[in-house]
């Protein structure tokens, strides 16, 4: 098969999303949703740094509203997305937007910091067009997560044996792991696993199995 830019009819008809822009709204909401999944709980405080095109046009395109909607756990097609700032305010979540003038690699970049008590996480996300995104940094650790492939994210206690238990589940189902990122806040605290796999099959059952593992606090699947 030739290497085509578009392979699916749903690249053309879809996604269903809250307007007005696939890159500045749908992509921004997806970044927020992924960051929330990695954080694993509702934050008390959010700081959103915006770069270049995001910094210049975020209000007009609803990028601010979309990122916060995502951080509240909403998908790009959630029709409550446009009320996200109010919802965050009502929940008592402190939100700050900081337009930055620094040069970055891609025009649509945001760096999000979430805090709850002592728990804190900083993630950098990029909206690369058509609602597609990349995660480029977690807690200062450079990664390249396309989110275009089936991806599992787990949050767990930083104790021995977690990786083996998780990877066994994929091995048992004959699912190949393409890339895997493991990082943590500090020794013995919470750790994060991001697992990109080659096959979306059985994802509901796998999520259930992952949740049953002792010390895993939260798991999410992205397609």
């Amino acid at each position: 098969m030739k290497d085509l830019r578009f392979n699916s009819v749903f690249d053309i008809i879809g996604p269903v999303m809250v307007g007005p822009s696939s890159s500045h709204t749908a992509g921004a909401a997806r970044i927020g949703k992924v960051v929330r999944s990695i954080f694993g709980e509702e934050p008390e405080k959010i700081t959103i740094d915006l770069y270049e095109s995001f910094a210049k046009t975020y209000r007009g395109h609803g990028t601010d509203v979309a990122i916060v909607g995502g951080l509240l756990g909403m998908k790009p097609d959630n029709d409550r997305l446009s009320d996200s700032l109010k919802i965050a305010y009502d929940k008592g979540i402190k939100v700050a937007f900081v337009p930055k003038s620094d040069k970055v690699d891609h025009p649509n970049t945001t760096k999000i910091t979430m805090t709850k008590g002592d728990h804190s996480l900083t993630v950098t996300g990029v909206s690369i067009g058509g609602g597609n995104i990349q995660i480029s940094e977690i807690n200062g650790f450079k990664i390249s997560l396309s989110m275009g492939t089936p991806t599992y994210i787990t949050i767990q206690q930083d104790v021995a044996g977690m990786i083996a238990q998780v990877t066994d589940i994929f091995y048992d189902r004959d699912i190949n792991i393409g890339t895997m990122t493991v990082t943590r806040e500090s020794k013995g605290e919470k750790s994060i696993m991001i697992i990109e796999v080659d096959d979306r099959k059985d994802h509901e059952e796998i999520l259930k199995q992952l949740k049953e593992i002792k010390n895993i606090e939260n798991t999410t699947f992205f397609e």
Binding site: L4, I12, V16
Partner: protein, 288 residues
């Protein structure tokens, strides 16, 4: 998989319909089963229906730049005293409705993009009762449009930042025209001519959004794009052919997109985006 419009037309002769070919290819490419693929498309159809209905009731964008025109158009159609035909005016009204909903951060289905979401939903909702289309036939309509859209996207572009508005509203109108031809009982070849006719007239259309917002002139370009899809489909159904083969037209659009200066590609640095009024509005909205 098909790579060009010609491939698509030729391969479709081995299937009951273009929609069947598209669903088979989708299943091969993604590993999803065919029923799941159909049900995903049904969700898209439902989102389109809702956005049209919502827009006609009357909405207003976040900035106040757009909104209320779908409602105006609806009243005008109801009054019954108009120049062109009712189906076209309904398509125009529906397209405005979808893009007004998009501008107010409502829920839409991108076809192929959010900024050009009005055209396909607009024409489908305008013809489905007249053509007595079942729900399955409406879902097929979207697969047909998506199939032709894929062939355009893979040989040209569907992003305003890459190819200007011709790539967005132009592609949307072309794939809508092709789907209309098929829904009316025309041949795959006629659908190809409808695309060629549409893209030749849309060629060179720039993307020049006022204040960088997906509002002006985007909403009205969707309106007129939907009317053009209807006319191109009627022309092709009348037996009018395109002198230039459709894939050569698609490639010409790609070349024009590449040659187009970046000030006309979604940067808001040219066209109506730099008129005195547009610059004044930008200052009012963003205060800078």
């Amino acid at each position: 998989m098909f790579y060009t419009v010609k491939d698509l037309i030729e391969q479709s002769h081995d299937y009951p319909s273009i929609a069947d070919l598209m669903i088979t290819v989708e299943s091969e490419n993604t590993g999803r089963d065919k029923d799941k693929i159909r049900s995903l498309m049904e969700c898209n159809l439902e989102a389109m229906e809702k956005s049209v209905k919502e827009g006609i009731k009357g909405v207003k964008s976040v900035t106040g730049l757009t909104g209320g025109d779908a409602k105006r158009m609806d009243q005008y159609i109801d009054d019954g005293d108009f120049l062109s035909g009712k189906p076209i005016l309904e398509a125009v009204r529906n397209a405005i409705a979808v893009n007004e909903v998009n501008a107010k951060m409502g829920l839409i289905c991108a076809t192929p993009t959010a900024g050009s979401a009005g055209v396909l939903a607009g024409v489908l909702m305008a013809v489905r009762d007249r053509l007595k289309m079942t729900k399955d036939e409406q879902v097929d309509f979207l697969f047909v449009a998506g199939a032709f859209g894929l062939a355009i996207a893979n040989n040209s572009s569907i992003a305003g930042a890459e190819g200007g508005c011709q790539a967005e509203v132009g592609s949307a109108s072309a794939m809508a025209a092709a789907a209309l031809v098929c829904a009316k009982g025309g041949t795959a070849e006629q659908a190809g001519y409808a695309i060629a006719i549409t893209l030749q007239n849309m060629m060179g259309l720039i993307c020049d959004p006022v204040a960088g917002l997906v509002e002006v002139p985007c909403v009205k370009r969707n309106a007129l794009g939907s009317s053009q899809a209807m006319i191109s489909a009627d022309m092709a159904l009348a037996g009018i052919k395109s002198v230039i083969p459709v894939d050569e037209v698609v490639d010409a659009m790609r070349r024009v997109g590449q040659q187009m200066p970046s000030i006309f590609k979604e940067t808001a640095e040219g066209g109506v985006a730099t008129t005195p009024t547009a610059l004044k509005l930008k200052k009012e909205i963003f205060g800078e």
